[in-house]
């Protein structure tokens, strides 16, 4: 399956771009994160605090992805004011 992966916040400068496409056999969010760590080892230290979302929903690491899905990687949030 072909997946679109979006990177947000501090993950963007780590990966070097806002999104990439990933070809994987069938798998879960956890499988995607594992593969991303192989491709970009510097992501590994950040993944424990990263939430994953599809559209407006946060998905569990056990969520099974389908061909064409877009998965957003969301690091710890820091909006608002002082």
């Amino acid at each position: 399956m072909l997946l679109n992966i979006e990177f947000h916040g501090l993950l963007r400068p780590i990966v070097g771009k806002p999104e990439l496409q990933l070809q994987l056999p069938e798998g879960t969010v956890e499988d995607v994160l594992h593969r991303l760590c192989e491709l970009r080892p510097q992501l590994a230290a950040h993944l424990p605090g990263v939430a994953c979302a599809m559209g407006s929903e946060i998905v569990a690491r056990t969520y099974v992805l389908a061909d064409g899905d877009t998965l957003a990687l969301i690091p710890p949030v820091s909006g608002g004011a002082g």
Partner: protein, 143 residues
Amino acid sequence: MNPLQTESLDVAALLEITAQPDSGALVVFGGTVRNENDGRSVSGIEYTAYAPLAEKVMAEIEQAVMQQFKVQQCRIVHRLGELTVGDLSVLVVVRAAHRAEAFTAARHAIDMLKQRVPIWKNEYYRDGDSRFLEGTSLNLSSE
């Protein structure tokens, strides 16, 4: 009014769309870009968001605040893009019958925004450096 905006936040417009005659209290909280953080001289902040989730969670916070604190209006808008020192980054408007619940509700709304809404600050310093500020994880399994 879109909760995420790339143009300057319009306080007057937000007051106009939330006005109602049975309100006796109006609390407006505004967050602005400060010129210092952790001892470093700040020149600006770039705000980015994951809009699909951010817009949903901001609406949830508004509804939860209105129910929990029995206030009549709660609206939150956040600016995105490159802001300079002094620029308004976020606005919270609460209207209620009386002041006590209005103050409490506004405080709660901005605190919830900071903890739950996928928005990020990339802070720029006068020495040319920049860094993303640390924040709160939305990954429930990491707790």
